[in-house]
């Protein structure tokens, strides 16, 4: 009799209950670990952002955080707050040389890539209207393929002398003819196009506010 019951297998209810309980405990464990690690992860991300700001603005010795309030860029007074967890208002960072001259702006942005959102930051020189640095902050692109946006030296270097006018455009490998063009990466076409789209969309979104801010300085 017992053998017959075993052969028939478990009831649907038991199967659902097993998976439900497993899912519930899994969820609870993940929430607990997430709450415990969140402050540490945010502190690490803030530190990574701070380092990236100096990397995308070569020669900068200090920076100030600017927050967009009512379509106007305003200086954040508390530097400790400036790279903390991102609040509701978008932020960019103005980098200065040792002598206090404005070198450019470090602008973070994100765009959906092949796997997940690609988060990056780039440096913009308003005098030359050119991008002068680029760093990926977070990506889950396919290892060996999409992650070439971090590892491909030629692609990365082409983003450090990139003119933004009339617009940043993607071209096929070997077809670059102008300073506003970026060659996509073979094997990482979607990811590299995403980065180029991220740069173009983000800079266009910020340009009016940056120009207005510079006029008032």
């Amino acid at each position: 009799m017992v053998e017959l019951q075993q052969n028939r297998g478990s009831s649907s209810l038991r199967l659902i209950a097993t998976l439900g309980v497993a899912g519930l405990f899994s969820g609870l464990a993940l929430v607990a670990v997430f709450l415990f690690t969140r402050p540490l992860i945010e502190a690490n991300q803030a530190e990574a952002l701070r380092i990236a700001i100096f990397q995308v603005l070569p020669g900068s010795e200090s920076y100030k955080t600017l927050e967009l309030n009512a379509k106007k860029l305003q200086l954040l007074s508390n530097e400790k707050e400036s790279t903390g967890p991102k609040k509701s208002n978008p932020r960019i960072y103005a980098g200065y040389s040792k002598s206090g001259d404005l070198l450019g702006f470090a602008i973070p942005g994100e765009e959906p890539g092949f796997q997940d959102k690609i988060k990056a930051i780039f440096g913009y020189d308003p005098e030359q209207r050119m991008l002068i640095g680029f760093e990926v902050l977070d990506t889950k692109e396919t290892p060996g393929l999409g992650d070439k946006i971090i590892k491909d030296k030629y692609f990365r270097s082409s983003l450090t002398t990139l003119k933004i006018d009339p617009k940043i455009v993607a071209v096929k490998p070997g077809q670059k003819t102008a300073a506003n063009q970026v060659e996509t990466i073979t094997g990482a076409t979607i990811s590299s196009k995403t980065v180029i789209r991220l740069l173009e969309k983000t800079i266009r979104w910020w340009l009016p506010s940056i120009n207005k801010y510079l006029e008032t300085q």
Binding site: G9, S10, R14, L15, T18, L19, A22, G23, F25, S26, A29, L30, V33, F34, T37, L40, I41, N44, A48, Q115, T139, K140, E141, T142, P143, G144, D147
Partner: protein, 212 residues
Amino acid sequence: MKNTVEASRYRAEFVKGLWKENPVFVAVLGMCPALAVTNTAINGIAMGGATLFVLTFSSLLVSSFRKLIPKEVRITTFVIIIATFVTIVDFLLQAFMPAIHKELGAFVALIVVNCLILGRQEAFAFKNPVRLAVVDALGMSLGFSFALFCLGAIREILGNGSLFGITLFGPDFEPWIVMILPPGGFLSLGFLLLFFNWLKQRQEKKGVENGY
């Protein structure tokens, strides 16, 4: 007598993963992280450590609840348990070792699909008592970590002239860049598999000669 038999069983289950049934060198499992993240010794150890955490705790849970998990949904339940521990290890690495987390990248999340982990749940933890399952998991994951360390150390020494970031050779050393690139992973693994198979054949030959 019973205790001696039990102790030797535990020892056998532990040691088999380290050498005789090493997941990388013998079973050729978990090749994705074994090839992808082993460009330095520290990366190999970090991935091995993450796998040890996930495999040991997954085996502990699967073995503890093996009588409650219906056979029909066992694989799905294993995956839920494994994915939970992988996410936990991902959070912990992000919080405490951000540099290592950045180096390992998407491969931490990919531990979920490491056939070594799912394989041990199905082949061992689901059929054996808790202590034995944990011993098996520890042996297997330490064997996996050892293999990843070997690969990482060889590639770092030849490809970068250093071990754990410490320079080993003088300024005249010309690093073999290919070793830290993806082909270097295949080359190192190929030579290590060759070496372990040669060693195995030699031991078998010796055994035959001695009449075992």
